[in-house]
Amino acid sequence: MNAVALVCAASLTSLIRWRCTTRWPQIGTMVVNLVGSFTIGVLHGRGVDSAILTAGALGGLTTVSGAAADIGSMRGPGRAGYLLLTVAGCSAGAWWGLQLA
């Protein structure tokens, strides 16, 4: 039953991500990744170990492949900036979330 809830949560948040990325290309992916990474840090810090929320909802909300596709479609210095902001920002965001909890 947990597995069903997990995939349903991921499916729902994937639709939210899709909506964000079609409305705001590139920025949308980065924002959902930053928000999802920060949120997973807060949840983990508070001892919430529900796979439905972490692997499901936040796993579906955030994406590595979408970021790769965005970077692949970009040219010039924006590309390095996007990569750096996603990699450093998401890691720092999760860490910040851990500290806040």
Binding site: A3, L6, V7, C8, A10, S11, L12, S14, L15, R17, W18, T21, T22, N33, G36, S37, T39, I40, G41, H44, A51, T54, A55, G56, L58, G59, G60, L61, T62, T63, V64, S65, G66, A67, A68, A69, I71, G72, S73, L83, T86, V87, C90, S91, G93, A94, W95, G97, L98
Partner: protein, 118 residues
């Protein structure tokens, strides 16, 4: 886009995202948290590279690849390693994800000869 086509797109993304998340969950359960996540993230980058080059629909890009990969999970893994002072481990898994994901994405976009798609 008519409302029925739009509804079908939403349903396709929702169903393929459920499959992507189930595959990630299975991979993590079968080969472990870290290798399972790395495999899914790298595989997702490879599939999306091919999908973008081929002009595939959102069911494959936003749905399957989007849910197969997880940025929040790798970010948490790095943050916890860093917090516990395992700096080399944190950097190693992060670099492996970025470098392998980037390399596989780049290679997969070249699988289709220019002008041979759509």
């Amino acid at each position: 886009m008519t409302s029925s086509i739009r509804a079908r797109s939403w349903a396709a993304v929702a169903i393929s995202a459920a499959i992507g998340a189930a595959l990630r969950w299975a991979a993590v359960g079968l080969i472990g948290d870290r290798p399972g996540l790395l495999l899914c993230n790298v595989l997702g980058c490879g599939v999306i590279g091919y999908a973008v080059a081929q002009g595939s629909g959102p069911w494959l890009t936003a749905g399957l690849c989007g849910a197969l990969t997880s940025c929040s999970a790798i970010a948490l893994q790095v943050a916890v390693d860093f917090d516990e002072g395992h700096y080399a481990t944190a950097a190693g898994w992060l670099l492996a994800t970025v470098l392998l994901g980037g390399a596989v994405f780049s290679a997969s976009t070249r699988l289709i000869p220019p002008g041979a798609h759509r």
